[in-house]
Amino acid sequence: MKAETLLTCAIISCALSGSIDRALAADPAPAALKRVTGIGGVFIRAKDPAKLRAWYKTHLGIDVQAWGGAAFHWADAAGAPINGSTAWEVGNGSNFAPSNSSFMIDYRVADLQGLLKALREEGCEVLDKVVEDPKFGKFGWVMDPEGNKVELWQPPEGK
């Protein structure tokens, strides 16, 4: 499928949800545990982060902050910002280790500790490190089978 048709497909699949055939086998995940609920962020590794950030700021109008990225607030139907947000950052990628990927995606989860426990039981490569920050929420990491580091984020209540 061509990249440019993706969002089209996403929209179609939303419109037809329930009637689209699933290409994949039935999900063995227990219904009780809610896992990923959204995209919390996307992080890009750059050869020259300062220069690339400047390009995105100048040409795409992204309000790049001192920490190297921006948080895009989700909007309601009228376009007013709501609490949920998706972060974006350009950096040197040192935080992607042990992955060598040039990007990392942050996924919003409802119950980080429950999910990490389930992933360990399922034999996934969960990293030992967990970060809990009263302001920013809880973070854990798992490696996917192709070596991408997956960031799992449980936002603080109401965020």
Binding site: K2, I20, I39, H59, G84, I105, A118, E146
Partner: protein, 127 residues
């Protein structure tokens, strides 16, 4: 001029897309659709969808993001695609000639200075 207003999607390549899609479905609970991805609704404080979405998808390796060879592509929501593409061209950016317009919105592309393909998407009104 208002330029990028949000993240519309994130797409990445896999050596074995089917296997990787299954992993994300089984272990991360992502409701992967037949087209290879999922659309996550933006939700308000009560968990109610607001109309906005962020798409996610896994692609096969190959020329999916051509002419970029990057393993990922980010889709950015924009308020005025034609105005932005005109400005980017005037500013000397590497804007691709191709445009896509349909009831699903308007799509254009620019290559960033490190060779990543940047997808610019003006959603239909109300989305």
């Amino acid at each position: 001029m208002k330029r990028v207003t949000g993240i519309g999607g994130v797409f990445f390549k896999a050596k074995d897309p089917r296997a990787l899609q299954s992993w994300y479905k089984n272990h991360l609970g992502i409701d992967v659709q037949a087209w290879g991805g999922a659309a996550f609704d933006w939700t308000d404080e009560q968990g109610k969808p607001t109309g906005g979405t962020t798409a996610w998808s896994i692609f096969a390796e190959g020329d999916s993001f051509a002419p970029s060879t990057a393993p990922f592509m980010v889709n950015y929501r924009v308020a005025d695609l034609h105005g932005l593409l005109k400005a980017l061209k005037q500013e000397g950016c590497n804007v691709l000639d191709k445009l896509d317009e349909s009831e699903f919105g308007k799509f254009g592309w620019v290559i960033d200075p490190e060779g990543n393909k940047v997808e610019l998407w003006e959603p239909p009104a109300g989305q």
